[in-house]
Symmetry: C2
Subunit: 215 residues, 2 copies
Amino acid sequence: MPANSRHQVRRTKERAQYEAAAVHAVLDAGFLAHVGFSVDGQPFVIPMLYAREGNDLLLHGSIASRLMRNLAEGVPACISVSHVDGLVLARSHFHHSVNYRSVVCFGTAVTVDDPVQKAQALARFVDAILPGRAAESRESDRNELAATLLLRFRIEDASAKVRSGGPRDDPADRGLPLWAGVVPQEVRFGAAIPAEDCDLPPPPSVQRLLGGAQP
Amino acid sequence: MPANSRHQVRRTKERAQYEAAAVHAVLDAGFLAHVGFSVDGQPFVIPMLYAREGNDLLLHGSIASRLMRNLAEGVPACISVSHVDGLVLARSHFHHSVNYRSVVCFGTAVTVDDPVQKAQALARFVDAILPGRAAESRESDRNELAATLLLRFRIEDASAKVRSGGPRDDPADRGLPLWAGVVPQEVRFGAAIPAEDCDLPPPPSVQRLLGGAQP
């Protein structure tokens, strides 16, 4: 993807990547996006689940959602996904930071009405939350599909930004008697909690997520 | 905060909270926000560090940042903060969800130019990343303050939305031979990695974060 003015990273340019593979890697590592668009000059930033399909992001919500319907009208939108990987603790306040991977995507959304495509997309959302889970649960029925507004957001421009590694203290600060370093941060999953009315063992998707440590 | 049209939650209203305490609790649990605003009709959603001070959110960036300067002009902005607490695995695709806490804030930003306030704010950012860390590191000097654009975003309206608990399957699905439940998710910190040129032991802030398990 060529860099143009809308998504070109201007600050700390050495952290920016425009290749689709770099953008997709950040997107595929998550399922929660922050979706921004304006309605009558008022910006909204709404957390939404997403699933990537090629160079599109699938979004869904209730057919009754006012904000989803605005987005479905094809207004310019911006979708951002971020992962924090660590706390960067420098000798100076100024150089404190976090390690992160983030993507900012620009584009517009179109509605998907075909029921087969909608059903497939809902399955992809399930697998985006937990790979393999869609095959372990019931597909959407006609009423559920009718209640769902499915949007396909076409990524027109995107950039990824990644910070990793240790603090970058000023040379003059390195001799100060102050600790500096990184505290890595990651997402961890706890033991599965079955629904009250469920006495089955956790399925393969959950066992894989938890490293086989589940009873 | 009274509910008016801009921030009134319309979908799944039982998850919405408008009290300042509920909003602040979600904000205080994080340090990464997604900040949205439009420039010439193009929406931007940018991940930024933040620190709450009363009913304001402090934001900062480089004085050279084009986007920060746009925000500093007082354009309408929307700031969203989200935490994911678990994967909600239902018997149907349709009822899959995540447990989360999120806040959406509406307001505008003003620039803070006073160097004393700027220095205090930069210290607050450090403590937002890791409580107690500001006192363990060097305060910002005159040049660093001059290079920093500090914004005070005044929260005019806000709502918090929280989902917790197990899946809410349709009664007709509860007899299906399918596992349903929740996999809790949380942020965990790993062992501190000192900077290459640092041979001091981890400071109290890091030891507290890691539960005293650090060497």
